[in-house]
Structures are given as C-alpha cells and as structure tokens.
C-alpha cells in the first residue's frame, strides 16, 4: 500500500514535469523572441486560470496551456494521494478516518474549483 502511494507521487510529479517541459518547448517554438514583463502584476487571462479552458487549449497544443496542464497535474498529485488514503481507510473500515480524509478532500476541491462556485 505504502509502496504504491510512493510510486503514485513520483509518477505524478514525473508526468507533470514532462508536460511542463513539452509545454515549454512548444512555447519557445510558438513565441520566438517575445519578451514578457513580470514586474507589474496583471493577473493571468482566463485561459490559464480555468480548468476546462486549460485542458481545451492544451489539447490544441498551445505551449503555455500545456505547461498549465502540467501544473494542474502537479497540484492534483497530493490530492490523488489523499484520495488513495481515503480508499485505504475504507478498506480498513476505519470510519473515523474516512470522515476525516473526506473533509480534507472537500477543502482541497473547494480550493481548486472556487471560481466555479462563486
């Protein structure tokens, strides 16, 4: 059980890193020589912020969206670990911790999908 969880984390981070790398390469090909200024904060456009838009644009091979997709996978990795723990507690019939883990999951999902709720 623990070994699977360990591998899960590592493969999750690896997948995310590969996506970010591919996205980076695509970005450089698609935007050669362009300069970006990060000294003032403008906030990212919706296509980098909303999950469904990120996936949509990533499937169109737009470099920066592939990177964002990779970042979403990265953020999802610890969430996946929590889900995995939930399954484990269910199998052990440890109801106290099923509830506790479920609460943590709700908090995590609230964070990721906060824009859809408000």
């Amino acid at each position: 059980m623990r070994d699977i969880m360990g591998s899960l984390l590592r493969y999750g981070v690896l997948t995310a890193a590969i996506l970010v790398l591919i996205g980076g390469v695509l970005f450089f090909i698609q935007h050669p020589g362009e300069i970006f200024d990060y000294s003032t904060f403008k906030g990212e456009p919706p296509r980098f912020r909303q999950v469904h838009l990120i996936v949509q644009e990533a499937l169109n091979f737009r470099g920066r969206d592939v990177i964002q997709l990779g970042l979403l996978v990265l953020i999802a990795t610890p969430v996946a670990r929590v889900i995995f723990s939930l399954v484990g507690f269910l199998l052990e019939r440890d109801w106290v911790y099923v509830v506790i883990t479920f609460i943590v999951l709700i908090i995590l999902f609230t964070s990721l999908f906060s824009t859809y709720l408000i």
Binding site: R2, D3, M5, G6, S7, L9, R10, G12, V13, A16, A17, V20, L21, G23, F27, H31, G33, E34, F36, Y38, S39, T40, F41, G43, E44, P45, F48, R49, Q50, V51, R64, D65, I67, Q68, L71, L72, L74, I75, A76, T77, P78, V79, R81, V82, S85, D94, V96, Y97, I100, T101, I103, V104, I107, L108, T110, S111, L112, F113, S114, T115
Partner: protein
C-alpha cells in the same frame, strides 16, 4: 527571453539544491530570488514558489512513505488544520497589500534562518519530556503509533492536541500567504508541542507539505497568480536541484553550508523587510 528563462532555471537549481541540503526548503529562497533578484511582482513570485514547494515535497515524500515511520492518521487529521489555514492564507494574500506580505515574509524568513542554526539535540530533547494528554479525543483519533529503532520497537502517543492543531492552522496560513512549505513549523508543532518523536515528525511533515501547498495553489492558479512561463523553469529547476541536494545530504560538511546559508538568508530577509517597509515591493 530565453536567457531570462535559463537564468531562472539556474537560480531554481541552486535554490532547490541548497534548500534540500540545509533543510530550509526551496520555498523560502524562490520568493526573494524572484522579487529581489529579478524584480518580479511578489504575487507571481508566491504562486510560482508554491509550485516549487509541491514539486519538491511530492518528489521527495515518495521516499519517506516507504520508511514506515510516517504516521498517516496523525498527518491526515492535522491536514484539516493546515489546508483550512492554507485557504485562509491564500484568501488573505488576494486582498493584503503586497508590501505587508513582503514584511511578513521577511520576518518568517529571519525566524527560519535562526531556527536552522539550532542544533538537532536541542530539538530532540522534547522526546523525553511529558506533556498533558488529551485523553478521549486522542483515543478516538488513534493518535499514536510505533516505529522501529536500533533498540527495538518504540511506542508513542500524542499530547496537546488543541495546541498542535492551532499551530498547524498557523503553519497553513503562512504557507498560503507566503508560498512556503512551512515544514519547520509543522515539525515544531508535532515534535515540541505534541511530543511526537522527531523522526516521525519530520517524515510526517514532509508528507503534509504537498497537500497544504496544493490547497492554496488551487486558489492561486484559478485567480491568475500562477504564470506558466515563470513556473516552467522554477518547477523543473527546484525539482532537479532538490534531488541532487538530497543525495549529498549524507555527508558531514552540511554544518558549514547551513551556517553560510543562514547568513545569506538572514540578509535576504532583512532586504525583504526593508523593501516592504519602503514600499518597493
């Protein structure tokens, strides 16, 4: 642009390497690196740093899960506190003035630098001391465990549940507000306040950092604080750097490096505080 990205990558490599070597974490280095070193707005810096924190903690946590020292139940229960704190911290960051965040960051950085110089023996003394137990709640939460030592199986249980929980909320808030991992605070909460053995505290803390960071990262990415072009070199650099740092960790020269790094971090902290007060950030 490519040079900018390349330098960021190099900086992130260094940050990840030193961070894992000294145990200070890459998170505390990334924000000053980006804001002071590259003039990046602190909001982008915090979002990017959070990505680095998840990457390194998930990348290294996998090793600890296999050790069998980690206490998943205690970690999961405390994660309620840290994730709630993280969301609160991220929410505060959305509305707080940036120079205030810079000053708070500098203060936390200063504290981290001083704490990293504390010898392990001082921290481990807590193992032998007794605190007041929280009785029935502890039993309900099965907040105990055991692990193998050279002398055989060692049992432990949890004390000061409320105090530890509150400390975890604070750790979560700082993580969400500043884009750091708050690993050191989590260890203090578990080791000093809840009297959990040091080895269990550190591994459980490493385990928890990623989840805490993910809780606030969700808010940051959906509010547009995380930029793909900035995140790419930082995430990859910190990840690779920390993997190398972890390998060299075993060698004994770390004490000198820790000291030098603590000095550097202290200077960075003072500069963050100064710039924050002068409203430069």
């Amino acid at each position: 642009m490519v040079t900018f990205i390349a330098i960021l990558f190099a900086g992130a490599l260094f940050a990840g390497f030193i961070g894992s070597l000294t145990g200070l974490g890459g998170g505390v280095v990334i924000v000053p690196l980006l804001t002071i070193g590259f003039g990046v707005d602190i909001r982008y810096a915090i979002g990017t740093s959070l990505i680095g924190v998840i990457a390194t903690s998930s990348g290294s946590a996998s090793a600890f899960v296999k050790e069998g020292i980690l206490n998943i139940r205690i970690g999961m229960f405390l994660e309620i506190a840290t994730t709630l704190g993280a969301i609160a911290g991220a929410a505060i960051a959305l509305f707080a003035p940036t120079h205030a965040i810079a000053v708070i960051f500098g203060l936390v950085l200063l504290y981290s630098a001083l704490m990293s110089l504390k010898s392990r023996s001082e921290i481990q003394l807590a193992d032998s001391q007794q605190g007041n137990k929280s009785g029935r709640l502890v039993a309900l939460l099965k907040a105990k465990g055991s692990y193998m030592t050279a002398n055989g199986l060692k049992n432990y249980t949890l004390h000061n549940l409320a105090g530890g929980f509150l400390m975890m909320i604070l750790a979560g808030i700082l993580s969400g507000l500043l884009g750091i991992g708050s690993g050191a605070m989590k260890v203090i909460a578990m080791d000093s306040i809840m009297k959990i053995p040091f080895k269990v505290s550190t591994t459980t803390s490493n385990f928890m950092i990623g989840v805490t960071a993910a809780a606030s990262a969700g808010i940051y990415i959906t509010r547009g604080y995380i930029d793909p072009v900035l995140s790419m070199p930082i995430m990859l650099g910190v990840l690779i750097g920390s993997l190398f740092g972890a390998r060299i960790l075993i060698k004994s020269q770390t004490k000198k490096i820790r000291f030098v790094f603590a000095i550097v971090v202290t200077l960075l902290a003072l500069e963050m505080i100064y710039n924050g007060l002068a409203k430069n950030i």
